[in-house]
């Protein structure tokens, strides 16, 4: 292939769709490396500390799309201190210097300051897409900068961010000349927005297909927006409270009827059952429905709604749907691919809402189900074995039994056999989260059968180091392993230190790993960052120099070519 002109090689590389393939060809020879790097348009950095931003930018000067992830996944559940790290600024600065053609930036679990957003807005004349997921550190002032300076902005997608509200004026910063918006999602914003600005913005963006409003947007405004944008495909309603007898309600129904392209609905904050009929006209077209923020819609009303959604592919609900409701889903939603059932009563003191029955029903009724997140009060081995038989095509299986360490309530046995059946049957399983009472046996099964597994989440499980070792030895494709409150210690950690260089990261908290074990790992593997996170207060009588025998509360290990990071706060020790 070396006698092909480079332009031809570049054309051939254009056909490589995945990052993995492009990464692979770049290692073949110097020529291919050069061709690949100069034609690379999109880079994904799974761990912002695995590589320095300057290096990425230097290697890929023609970058158009950059995705970077920061904090480890358990940060979603407050297990990682807020100021642990994951700053977006170095990435934006490096890109501003090295890739002025940048058009898209996607950040997840990173700290983004308003100054960073302002720099972003001013540095890239062609900037089109900004997606921030589970980020924090910025306010509506930063959004104002984006709105003001990004002339050709197509997508502003804010998902579940912690952002400070400094007033509604940011939305008015979109100039009248801005007509390019295709997707706008500010559902996580807590404050008000200016309704008139919003309506005018929607009216002048003919290509708008995704619009997710926040809770502060009234139904009245929603109605007006629908009238202006009947071509919407994905809608997040604001607060969905309205007097169902009022004229406004009838207007709303009429406007919904006009939205023939609507395929996905979410929002529904404060929705009461009486308002639901407003969406009945379009239910038959829906492929996505998210009712997980509407605790007031339960039982019969939920069922009535779902019965009309026969084309549903993605459904997110609260567990007040009940096993009965899930049976209706099983009967109605034959196209269902993804189901998420969230706990409505997070501490489980209410009525047990969904059990293993609901899951079994869905597994038998929905032949296309491949992705599951299920919070429930109990699960049995028999049910899991049935589910495994019914749905061998699962790629993501996350089960959370709310009471940690709870066994099969019928047999009082651990759930090893049930999860074992899942991994044995679901050959394409890429992501798995375990819960309930589990011994080392389940990990033996996982090591044996879960060949494609890439991400595993473990909590309150296992008996001994053997459990973790089974997983490390068996799962060849493991990329992310996160463990909390399980009895795995130094022996397991150090069993196969080379393994961690084949993975993105390992998180262990409240396990039996000691400081000495972490130090040993760090000494043996210089290309890993071994971080120990110590949230001690100064007032603690102290363990200024804790002995190596002391257990480490939180440890985060990741492979890196960037060396120890220089922005770690005091309480993070890189060994």
């Amino acid at each position: 292939m070396t006698y092909f002109p480079e332009e031809v090689v570049e054309r051939i590389f254009d056909f490589l769709a995945t990052h993995r393939d492009r990464n692979a060809v770049s290692t073949v020879c110097k020529t291919w490396y050069r061709v690949e790097r100069l034609s690379r348009r999109s880079v994904f950095v799974g761990n912002c500390y695995a590589v320095r931003p300057e290096r990425v930018v230097a290697r890929y000067p023609r970058l158009r799309s950059l995705t970077v992830k920061g904090k480890p996944h358990f940060a979603d559940f407050n297990l990682v201190p807020h100021d642990w790290g994951g700053f977006a600024l170095p990435w934006i600065e490096a890109a501003a210097r090295g890739c002025p053609g940048l058009e898209e930036l996607r950040l997840k679990r990173m700290i983004v300051f308003d100054e960073s957003l302002e720099l972003l807005a001013r540095s890239f004349p062609n900037f089109k897409v900004l997606v921030l997921i589970s980020c924090e550190g910025f306010s509506t002032d930063g959004l104002a900068a984006i709105a003001t300076y990004c002339r050709v902005l197509r997508e502003l997608d804010l998902q579940e961010n912690e952002m400070e509200d400094r007033g509604p004026q940011w939305l008015s910063c979109f100039p009248d000349s801005c007509t390019s918006l295709v997707s706008l999602n500010f559902a996580c914003l807590k404050g008000e927005v200016n309704a008139v600005s919003l309506e005018r913005l929607v009216a002048r963006c003919p290509n708008l297909r995704t619009l997710r409003l926040n809770r502060a947007v009234s139904v009245d405004t929603l109605s007006k927006i629908l009238a202006r944008a009947p071509h919407l495909v994905d809608l997040g309603t604001g607060s969905f409270t309205i007097d169902h007898r009022a004229e406004a309600y009838h207007k709303l129904i009429n406007n919904f009827i006009k939205c023939k392209s609507l395929r996905s609905l979410s929002g529904f904050w404060d929705a009461t059952p009486r308002c639901l009929p407003a969406v009945y006209p379009i239910c038959g077209n829906l492929t996505g429905l998210n009712l997980s923020y509407a605790p007031a819609i339960q039982g019969a009303d939920l069922i009535k709604l779902i019965r009309q959604c026969s084309k549903l592919q993605r459904l997110w609900v609260l567990d007040c749907i009940g096993d009965k409701g899930l049976a209706v889903v099983a009967n109605t939603c034959k196209e269902l691919q993804e189901l998420r059932v969230f706990p409505s009563d997070v501490y489980g003191e209410g009525i047990a809402a969904v059990t293993e029955e609901g899951l079994v029903a869905v597994s038998s009724g929905c032949p296309k189900l491949i992705s599951l997140l299920y919070f429930c009060h109990q699960m049995t081995n028999a049910a899991l074995i049935t589910v495994a038989k019914n749905c061998p095509q699962f790629t993501r299986f996350r089960l959370c039994i709310l009471d940690p360490g709870k066994p099969d309530p019928v047999t009082n046995q651990p759930l090893d056999e049930g999860f074992g059946a899942i991994v044995q049957s679901c050959k394409d399983l890429r992501r798995l989260s375990l819960s309930g009472h589990l011994t080392d046996q389940v990990f033996l099964y996982i090591g044996m059968y879960a060949e494609r597994l890439e991400m595993l989440s473990i909590a309150f499980a296992g008996d001994s180091d053997k459990g973790m070792v089974y997983v490390l030895n068996g799962c060849k494709n493991l990329r992310k392993l996160e463990i909390r409150d399980s009895p795995f210690g130094d022996a397991a950690l150090l069993e196969d230190v080379g393994k961690y260089e084949t993975m993105r990261s390992l998180w262990m908290s409240s396990c039996d790993v000691t400081l000495g074990g972490c130090k040993t790992l760090a000494a043996k593997m210089p290309r890993l960052n071994v971080e120990v996170i110590n949230e001690m207060d100064e007032s603690d009588e102290l363990e200024e120099n804790p002995s190596d025998l002391h257990r480490v509360e939180k440890m985060y290990v990741y492979r890196t070519v960037a060396g120890p990071r220089n922005d770690a706060p005091d309480f993070v020790w890189t060994l």
Partner: protein, 210 residues
């Protein structure tokens, strides 16, 4: 300032100016000196940390193994102070129905920005002998010693031989641990000797000894 503490849902009281050195407790229990307290062996800890539900009203009834399998201990209510459990994202906890917001224990985390109204956590540090890193537990989320011990068991799984299923293996080898606390006057006492309300009022921090 006199502290008003009750066992109602945390939202109902504000703990301004928490002053644990306010020695105006009216309890009549007898405080023990440190050595005196910890020389004795805990009587037959089938359940090293469990005390009868009524707390120490002076009458330490015999612990029965049944306590381990009691519905209260297996119930989720004891998990209220477990950080990050269940694994649900922040915004979802806020909008989940009912009292989820109040009971959430993020106040014990390092940087809690939760502006959720008026609830004041009573977080005390918990250190376990031999463990460098301390934890924090929000006492305001507990109503009894049982619930507290349940939480501690989950925070320090070393206290059992393997955490998972501790409540389901009554014959597991158990090590003996003592939970002690420092009160407002700097004395170290055994947890469980006095009524729960008095305990909450005076406790400053906890220490688990083996």
């Amino acid at each position: 300032m006199e502290l008003e503490l009750g066992l109602a849902l945390p939202n109902n009281h504000l703990m301004k100016g928490l002053d644990l050195n306010d020695g105006s407790t009216t309890n009549s229990y007898r405080k023990r000196g440190f050595e005196e307290a910890f020389e004795e062996v805990i009587p037959k800890a089938t359940l090293p940390l469990f005390v009868h539900k009524n707390g120490g009203d002076g009458d330490d009834e015999n612990d029965s193994p049944q306590l381990k399998n009691s519905p209260e201990l297996n119930s989720i209510s004891g998990n209220r102070a477990l950080v990050g459990w269940p694994p649900v994202k922040h915004p979802r906890r806020r909008s989940a129905g009912g009292g989820a917001e109040e009971r959430w224990s993020e106040h014990c985390g390092s940087n809690s920005d939760d502006g959720g109204g008026g609830r004041r956590a009573k977080c005390v540090k918990v250190k376990m002998e031999g463990v460098a890193i301390g934890r924090k537990v929000d006492l305001s989320l507990h109503d009894s010693y049982e619930e507290l011990f349940h939480t501690l068991n989950q925070m320090f799984p070393n206290m059992q031989h393997g955490f998972a299923g501790f409540a389901h293996h009554p014959h597991h080898h158990r090590r003996r641990f003592m939970v002690t606390y420092e009160d407002g006057e700097g004395d170290w006492l055994l947890v469980g000797d006095m009524p729960w309300e008095d305990f909450i009022r005076s406790v400053k921090r906890l220490k688990i000894l083996s």
